[in-house]
Amino acid sequence: MKKTGAQILCESLIAEGVDVMFGFPGGVLLPFYDTLPQYPQIRHILVRHEQGAAHAADGYARATGKVGVCMATSGPGATNLVTGIANAYLDSVPMVAITGQVVREQIGKDAFQEIDITGITLPITKHSYVAMDTAHLAKIVHEAFYIARTGRPGPVLIDIPKDVFTDQAELTVPSRVELPGYKIPSQGHPAQLKNAAKLINEAKKPLIIAGRGVIISGASSALREFAEKAQVPVITTLLGIGCFPENHALSYGMAGMHGTGYANKAMESCDLLIAIGMRFDDRVTGKISAFAPHAKIIHIDLDPAEIGKNVPVDIPIVGDVKPVLISLQKLVENNSRISWLRQLDEWRQQHPMLDIKDGDKLLPQRIIREIYEATNGDAIVVTGVGQHQMWAAQHYFFDKPDTFISSGGLGTMGFGLPAAMGAKVGKPDKTVWCIDGDGSIQMTIQELATLVQDDIAVKIAIMNNGYLGMVRQWQDLFYKKNYVATPLSCPDFVKIAEAYCMAGITVTKREEVRPAIDKAMAHEGPFLVNFMVEPEENVYPMVPPGESNVNFLEQPKKEVSAWQRRSTP
């Protein structure tokens, strides 16, 4: 029996295990939306702006490990997806973005709401399709999902003209994917594994730096076993947070621009750096000529194009992180490395960077620590981009993968709220906190309406400092406090929440913090807490841009007093 393109698309999505999609309709998508109610298995969440759809699909994918799906109409709908697609591309997030297109005979004629979206997204998609024939639609969808989730994941775009939705064709379920040009490296070269093991066994001061590749590969326990056997300390990138338990004795926190001082010192003095599923982003390496100057480097990554891209490596291992770590773990010897670990602990004592200033001021670091304690460290934390993002990375402790969701590569302000929405939809039983800034959240604040309409119980904590805080911090430190275009006149966020029929509360005093957090968590449905934090608080430590990682700025000493850090077992 023949089916319409719209039916074929729905059935193909269901065949790929899709149970939710984030979208926004439009003229050319009407045939699809007309058909959608025939398939109640697919929950459609109507966003308020297409960027929100892409970020929500992104948050959903990171929280669940499944492919996130977003949809937008032709023209402006499609271009509104672009930021979200780029974000997913840079952070290797599996996503399928479906855009409507004008009818086939109008393509190329500058028709109403026609835009060349496959052309626009060429450099920010893993692959893209224009479905010009209804008979090919099922095969295209199957391939798109396969490409999005396998290998190094990424966004795949499918552009579908309106009349392809209405045309009819036989639905032939594709049984396998034939993509001769698509290669997925798997195990890692045995000779390189042997060489790596030899270097690890001989190293006096080895260090692991783990990135999001560990999380994508599901290699957390493999990493742990490997690190424990060889007694190699572990630091992570921003997106690697959660891949190794931060309460583990071998964990030394996050490295890079706002990383812990001891992680950066460790990178500086290690004699062997084992980089796993990370890509030597400049925010991690600092000044490249001074990066890990005494170390040989082993780089384990699935993507051969990442090897030697930014930093030359001694032993490259191209392969999926998990099987590579499992084989490597068998090849390395038991070790103790007492003096190296003692050295790191000493640095940790000397640079207690995660201590928080005492006093009555409402400090964002303390609020995040309170959220950590209130949630027992078991929440999914989604952030926007800016100071609050770094404080969340520093002061919430993550012990499990897929619990810290943040925009790393693209640094997309406005990512937090819609991504938190997607994460909550994907993991409805988990507490999801969106830690956001007053600048960041205003870029996608319209999604509060989506939270209310679809009853998505995201808890929102706004670190409201009345500034574009991170930019202000750079102006403070590097531009003589010339605060240009950073002071923000913010709306009353609680009134905004109320206008969207959502509950909220403003907090101005230190003692109100915990009760407000508890109230938010006890509340059924979404809840917004507007924390009026210290306006000119800076994120420390900080490596000034272009500087070597060891030249980090610390919190001015006189201001610091103790806040008990969670003890490491």
Binding site: T118, G119, L122, P123, K126, H127, V130, I147, L179, P180, G181, Y182, K183, H189, Q192, S289, A290, P293, K296, I297, D303, P304, A305, I307, G308, K309, P312, V313, D314, I315, P316, V318
Partner: protein, 181 residues
Amino acid sequence: MATTKHTLVALVNDKPGVLNRVVSLFRRRGFNIDSIAVGHSEVQHLSRVTIIVNGTTYTVEQVRKQLDKLIDVVKIFDITSEKNTTRELALVKVKATSATRSEILEIADIFRANIVDVASDTLTIEITGDEDKIESMLKLLKTFGIKEIARTGRVAMVRGTLGAPPPEDKPVRSRVKRENA
């Protein structure tokens, strides 16, 4: 690092937009493509692209790896270091009077070029060869006045029975000694 000419050969899916994907990767990396030639290959549905590009071994290797990641690029080789045959075809329209015609015909003959069109005041010459040969002939013809040149861009093939080597699995690159570290 010194830049040198690299010859990349790619087998790509014969579909709309594929060439755009290949070329835009060069744009992103800031490469100027010296020459690009596309045509059918021995395999149905696969086109063969020959790209000549100037760059350091390191940057060209980066581009090769990025190109290899494209789903529509089935195979890609850098055949620069292999012994290979490179050919290009050019059509050259030269001014020719009754006084100069025989001299031009003589030059064409030396280069084993063919005359493909004769008009009252021009000759069109078809020449095939490597870059040097074509450049040499053009140099000689210049004195007569060249009205038009059309060149195909170079195509290349590895000599011998083996053909293009399989994609190398040689990720090793020794760590460069860094100054001021």
